[in-house]
């Protein structure tokens, strides 16, 4: 066994941490208040070259392993969840479907723009009546004269409505399977497609400056080739995309927990009550010890899951475990971190308040904690 990160992974961590501290931390609270998408941060992340990390260099990507990408997401989330989700939704959900299932032509057409960060991509799966039950999608694609005609709607879609959003991969019913159940397909839909309507931004509890939209499709026509991969493979593709995405959402929980813990430790050393710093009270010292221990457990599980993926081993169960553990760890850590801040933690002046709001969605997005438990339970014959 070897727990050492590679030289590249260490330099990536240091570089992204340095970048997040200097370029993002000073403006994170302000962006959270304004709730406006930050083209400035996205532009800077693009300059750093991290918007296509795990995609091979021949498509303009960084050519890193998945763990390096996970570490970068972790470091962004340690400072600002909106930056992290914008980057990881773009890569895991927006870009990877094209890289995994696209034709060479589709890859050459889209990937260089996406990996360079000039253009953002998104993934449209969730619908008003198809959340955890993702197969219950109602959006329909019907093949007419070699064109898919798409009708339906999607909700809670990250990165769909920015000025640089260029395309979305959506799931839609493409026909009936032999067992009479719906056949799902993943279809590429460029933003300029007629009939593609992008709703206004949601008013969210957290992830304030990330772009989240509801979408509708009215007789949207795209060429037959825009169906990714083979017909009938869409449901499996979707599950595979989510497996990879879970690791990145896990990294958001891990990074957020780390950030909240560091705030708590710093505050508990500085804040005096009863004539002593908060850390000198054993109850607080133990809280901080528990936080650090849980974070280390979460990190080991997440890195192992990423390692399995990098080594082409099965990682579905570990991805679900890691996403579940990282999200819920951050929930407990940020709750105690805010508690340690007392009344000040409830004030927006202290960033722990933002971290507290940004955590909740981690128990929900990319498969709820309940769905992760279903995924795990199915691997043990339940």
């Amino acid at each position: 066994m070897n727990f050492d990160l590679t030289e590249e992974q260490k330099i990536i961590r240091n570089t992204v941490r340095d970048f997040a501290e200097k370029e993002i931390r000073p403006i994170a609270a302000d962006l959270d208040q304004k709730e406006e998408f930050s083209y400035e941060i996205v532009g800077k992340m693009a300059d750093l070259g991290i918007m296509g990390m795990p995609v091979p260099e021949k498509y303009g990507g960084g050519g890193t392993d998945y763990l390096s990408y996970i570490i970068a997401v972790e470091e962004l989330a340690r400072v600002d969840a909106s930056s992290a989700i914008t980057m990881c939704a773009h890569i895991s959900l927006g870009t990877m479907p094209i890289y995994y299932y696209g034709t060479e032509e589709q890859k050459r057409k889209w990937l260089p723009k996406l990996t360079s960060g000039q253009m953002l991509a998104s993934f449209g799966l969730t619908e008003p009546d198809a959340g955890s039950d993702a197969g219950a999608t109602k959006t329909k694609a019907i093949l007419k004269n070699d064109m898919w005609v798409i009708n339906g709607s999607k909700c809670f879609i990250t990165n769909a409505g920015t000025k640089i959003s260029g395309l979305i991969t959506i799931t839609a019913i493409t026909g009936k399977r032999k067992d009479n159940r719906n056949e799902i397909g993943c279809i590429l839909l460029p933003n300029e497609t007629e009939g593609y309507n992008i709703g206004s931004s949601y008013n969210k509890m957290g992830w304030h400056w990330s772009d989240t939209r509801g979408l509708s499709f009215v007789d949207c026509c795209v060429p037959k080739e825009n169906l990714l991969g083979e017909k009938g493979h869409g449901f499996r593709q979707m599950l595979e995309i989510l497996d990879g995405g879970r690791l990145s959402v896990g990294a958001m929980g891990l990074g957020g927990a780390q950030g909240a813990y560091e705030m708590a430790l710093k505050y508990a050393k500085e804040r005096f009550q009863f004539g002593k710093p908060l850390i000198s009270f054993q109850i607080n010292a133990f809280k901080l010890s528990d936080m650090l221990t849980e974070i280390e457990m979460a990190r080991l599980l997440l890195y192992k899951a990423a390692w399995l993926k990098d080594n082409n081993r099965p990682f579905i169960r570990e991805a679900a475990m890691a996403k579940l553990v990282c999200s819920e760890t951050m929930g407990r850590v940020v709750n105690q971190a805010l508690q340690l801040h007392g009344g000040y933690g409830f004030m927006k002046e202290y960033p722990v308040e933002r971290f507290y709001r940004d955590q909740k969605v981690l128990d929900i997005a990319e498969g709820t904690s309940e769905i992760q438990r279903i995924v795990i339970s199915r691997t043990i014959g339940c």
Binding site: E7, E8, I11, L48, G49, M53, G62, T64
Partner: protein
């Protein structure tokens, strides 16, 4: 235009430094190491010169295998190649012994400018650059904040920070320049840069490769010796002067300032 940047790996400035129980040094096991921040300005300036005039940028770094990460960080920023001086004999050297080894390594490198950070943030000696210039018989300017190399690359005009102002000097090249905050804004290593860094040449040289003997470098070649490290004394707790209102407390304060603190 070829530049060599002398780089030192130092503990991260946010690290908590602990001294070994016998006072012989600091405990390095748990420390995070980074490139000396003042050396980053040298790396950035070397890259700017390369972009403007062509040529190459080289990192010269002394230290054990852990310094490779710092060297690769510089390569990831855009430096072309590096030389690492790694030999147990180099350990424990003072500024003179360190400069001696660096000077020997520089004899095998091509340079028009040698950059050193104005000081390393660990031992704060601020001497290596100047001693290096002396050993190589080169002019040097310390604490530079601006560098303009002449088109013929034979001289440069530099701004140097002095008390209360800026001194502008012309210096013939090659020269040793020590870099100060304000010179530039060091770039981040880009992801493509990080991926390429591993393929860039890193030449590791030991004592024999430099043709020096063990008495002239490291601990043995040093002019000064660190005899002991001690932690700064812990700050005593403050004193709260009790009493009803300033009329009662102010005289007590004055008395304490005069008799105990002896500042008035």
């Amino acid at each position: 235009m070829n530049s060599v940047v002398c780089v030192k790996q130092v503990p991260d400035t946010e690290s908590v430094i602990k001294i070994k129980p016998d006072g012989s040094g600091i405990i390095t096991d748990d420390l995070k190491f980074v490139m000396n921040p003042y050396d980053e300005y040298g790396v950035e300036e070397a890259l700017k010169l390369k972009e403007k005039f062509g040529g190459s940028a080289t990192i010269l770094c002394m230290g054990p295998s852990r310094v490779v990460e710092t060297i690769r960080t510089g390569l990831a920023m855009g430096v072309d190649k590096a030389v690492q001086l790694d030999d147990p004999a180099f350990e424990g050297g003072d500024a003179f012994a360190t400069a001696k080894a660096l000077a020997e390594a520089l004899k095998g490198l091509e340079y028009d400018v040698i950059f050193c950070g104005k000081q390393a943030v660990d031992d704060d000696l601020s001497q290596v650059g100047q001693i290096l210039a002396e050993l190589l018989g080169l002019p040097h300017v310390s604490l530079i904040q601006k560098l303009q190399v002449a088109d013929d690359k034979k001289s440069a005009v530099v701004d140097r920070q002095v008390e209360g102002g800026i001194e502008v000097l012309k210096v013939l090249l090659p020269a040793v320049l020590t870099t100060q905050k304000g010179l530039n804004e060091p770039r981040y290593a880009s992801l493509p840069g990080i991926m390429k860094a591993k393929k860039k040449p890193l030449d590791v040289k030991d004592l024999a490769a430099l043709g020096l003997n063990a008495d002239s470098v490291g601990c043995n070649g040093s002019k000064t010796m660190i005899t002991k490290y001690t932690a700064p004394p812990e700050r005593a707790a403050g004193k709260i002067i009790e009493g009803e209102g300033p009329q009662e407390t102010a005289p007590k304060l004055v008395q304490l300032l005069r008799e105990e603190a002896k500042v008035i």
